[in-house]
Subunit: 136 residues, 2 copies
């Protein structure tokens, strides 16, 4: 956990990055559109474990639909974050894994998950305080 945190700090250290360069803001937004998607994050997080098949992912990510899984996998593959290996066999088998580019996101996503596990109780407490108002 600390190792991961250290990596995060290392990545965040180049201080002046606190403000997003205006000329990069658009690119950042585009990337965030992909990476900042809940299913994308969940898929990458799940693929941390290694090679997985379509149905495995479908089962490992509760609540995701086949449509969204297919689309997310296609996007990730299209962006070069994951690799897709299809075996022309019977029964058919398709295996997904993190490409190097996706692996570079691994630590960050792991940090996010770590943060979620660490702070979810606190968030739920805050939600309870602010009022029941569970957002739609």
């Amino acid at each position: 956990m600390d190792a991961v945190a250290a990596q995060v700090e290392t990545a965040a250290l180049p201080g002046p990055c606190s403000r997003i360069p205006v000329e990069d803001a658009d690119f950042v937004r585009q990337i965030m559109d992909r990476v900042g998607d809940k299913w994308t994050l969940m898929v990458i997080a799940t693929l941390q474990d290694g090679v997985m098949r379509y149905t495995e992912l479908l089962h490992a990510i509760p609540g995701i639909s086949q449509r969204m899984l297919s689309r997310t996998l296609a996007q990730l593959h299209h962006d070069g974050l994951i690799t897709r290996t299809a075996y022309a066999e019977v029964p058919p088998r398709v295996e997904y894994a993190l490409a190097p580019l996706g692996a570079s996101l691994k630590d960050i996503v792991a940090s996010l998950i770590d943060w979620a596990i660490t702070h979810h109780a606190e968030i739920r407490r805050h939600r309870a305080l602010t009022g029941t108002a569970d957002n739609h």
Copy 2:
């Protein structure tokens, strides 16, 4: 890489998703639903600089609508990630800033942005290769 092989073996173990504790998986998903939202990430990233007003945020985050900004700010405030300070004055003034809980996410979000800036060129290149950037 040997590390990759190790991960494959880990995945081969019976049971999905060994990284995320099963009992926390649901919580992780819930948190990811919030944190894994593009606007949430953009708002937190923008608030890294410090205190900001509604219109400032609206202008600082290209493409966000008033509705989504209000909603996102309300959610973040509801979850205790940001603070909301309203001055009963004319003209009205509302200032938003990261709460300690949100500040704990700062480094991770900064890493994400850093990653986006570092790799967006590579992603765009992959997109061009995979097909004419055509999303069916």
